[in-house]
Amino acid sequence: MLAPRARLVALLAALLLAAGAVQVAARDVLPAPAWLSTWTARHPDPRTFSEAESLALRALQDKARRKDVMLLFAALAAGCAAVAAFPRLPARAGGVRVAVLAAGTVTLGIALAASSVVGQARLAAAREWSLGDDALGALAGPHTATLRAWRARVPESDAVLLLGTDSSLWNVTAWALHPRAIFPLLRDVPPDMSDEAQDFGRGQGARWVVDLGALAAPARSAHAALLKVDP
């Protein structure tokens, strides 16, 4: 049984940690420690990134760091609060530290499980969560009808040359056009495409080109997203 004074300390710790979580939550990002940033700036990775890629990765990491630290404070606060509320918990768990860490994780997990259930209900309402037999709508979103039309138009024995750099669109299009032979060109319509790709897919019947850039933004493109190359 935790002594009353220890319970008070646990309660104060919970309040302080909760305040820390709120403070971190108010920030948009949490940058890496200065010593690490300085080191990586002085010694760049041998596999260099473009400026845009570096910025994107940095933003991703800073957001993830913020989330982790916020959840760390929140989970510890929940653990301390649980210990303060249930003084027998430390004895049962095997110590105060163990009780705080375990209770914090369980509280966080229950909260996230509830959030997952709510999220699934919302997705189901938006027809993005389904146990049915047609998941293309949930996968392809606004492109579903287009992809279905393409599937009806392109025979299974034909080849498709997939052009583009949008990885999610790429996966979705490849999924929708299965089992047609797909030849990827990870670039946005290169000028030398006809030279480089002229032999891709020969022997598969007719060949088609899918331009993911035109699929994503049809208004900005002068050509259709799906083009028949030959015969």
């Binding site: 690490l36 080191w39 990586t40 010694h43 990775d45 041998p46 596999r47 990134f49 890629e53 990765l57 990491q61 993830a64 989330k67 982790d68 959840l71 760390l72 989970a75 510890l76 653990g79 768990a93 095997g94 110590g95 530290r97 163990v98 860490l101 375990a102 914090g104 994780t105 369980v106 966080l108 997990g109 229950i110 996230l112 499980a113 959030s115 997952s116 999220g119 699934q120 997705l123 993005e128 969560w129 389904s130 146990l131 049915g132 037999d133 047609d134 998941a135 293309l136 949930a138 996968l139 997939l162 990885s167 490849a174 999924w175 299965h178 089992p179 032979a181 797909i182 990827p184 891709f200």
Partner: protein
Amino acid sequence: MSLCLGVLCVLAWVAAGWAPMRVLAGGLAGPRWYGRAAMACALGAALTGLAQVLLSACGVAAGPALPCALALVSLGWCASAARAEARAAGDRPARAGAPARTGAPARTGMRTHEGAAERGGVPDRHGTGGRRKALPAWLGALLVVVVLSSVAAGAGTPFRSDGSKFWAPKARELARVGASEAPSLHDPERLGVHRDYPLLVPALLAPVFALGPPDAMSGPKLALGALLAALLGLLAVMLARCGGRGLVILAAFAAQPLLVSLDVRESAVSAGYVDAVQALFLLLLVAAVEALREGPAGARGSDVAGIALAGLAGAALAGTKLEGSVEAAVVFGAALAAGPRRGALAAAAAGALLLALPTFVIAAGVAPGEPGFSLARLADPEVWQARLLPVLAGLGGLLIDVSSFGLLPLLLLVLAWAPSPAGAPAVDGTRTGARAVAAALAPDIARRRRWFGVLLAGGALAFGLLSYLSTSMQAERHMDTSAHRLLWQWLPAAAWLVARGGTSQREAGPAAGCSSFGGAGA
């Protein structure tokens, strides 16, 4: 329809694994239904997957025939064993006092506990049989909530990220054609991501794709979710045997955000990642290897079962993901270096290698792609200078990757730092200095003076470090996408090792602490 096919697929795995569960791992699975179902599911998936990969390497498409055949053979064996048991029970009064030898386990030379065939194979060292404590109601409820929400999140959402990029596409292709002829594996111009990745999981999911409608994903994702449920069921049985500490760890493990979150990056199943399968086989391998290390000499039946179980788990691990081969090598290497019983361990490693041969043959035959790792980078001082500090910081940062693991890594560290005897608080704070460091690295090392835990932890850490130093990707980017999943693969086994590290000889029985297996009575 796809969902029904997924359910049937899982039932086929369970049926196919039921006989192997009784023969190889009855003691480990325990008497409770969820432990037995989880173990049968794991073993059935391992057997079915390895057999599908073998056939696929021979050019056969992965259809439903093989899982159904394996399930029928297994169920037939179980029926035959049940009849033999019934006959033995009928004969017993006639042979007053004579110990009943049960059916098939007796034929395989397995010694059994408590006269039950299902306790055959790698036996139960506790000797407490069906008197083991059930999970507390609140913990059982937590596990049910986690399994339901996680499996629903997986089955109800489509494949995304790596799931839609290559795991599901590979499964769809294997449903049509064998791996030896699959165009995406052999034609360098075709769309094919990670051609050299092992095919056990795609081969397992292929029958559901083969029979299901073209855009259905709920069935295959339910099957993936079932393997996550099997991991939780097996871990629940193993940790429940480790007393209060095991239950605390189990609660924290089940509540990890990675298990319950809907978020694609932080979820074990919603994207269609296969890391839960990898974690399941790694846990099984570590448990089987520990059983082999601790098994008493002379229990030949136990040895054969242990070797078979470790070999099967090792091969399945190598067949699931690219890093599985290295993880299996780390486990076998640590066990062989630490000893004892190196002969049995070497036999298990050789068995794993043999069973994983089709995986290696397929990987060797695929069209070459850009290598993911270059060992030459390790000889470049510039690489070490640029990457060592960020990689170490990244690996250390996993301890507070709360959005993936909650506080579980910190909890395991705290518990590992101070293993406690039974009946005492889990954290006694009496270990100091070098002994505390040894205990922190591997909890059972200080207690039993064996190096398996230390070598395992060191091997896993070295693997992570060397992987990210030698990666062809930008190291930080590579860590961002994979380090949390790499750690998660080790977490179930680490949780079990830490939990058993805090159990005394007195609590666990005379032979080996909290081991879930045991010396078959000679």
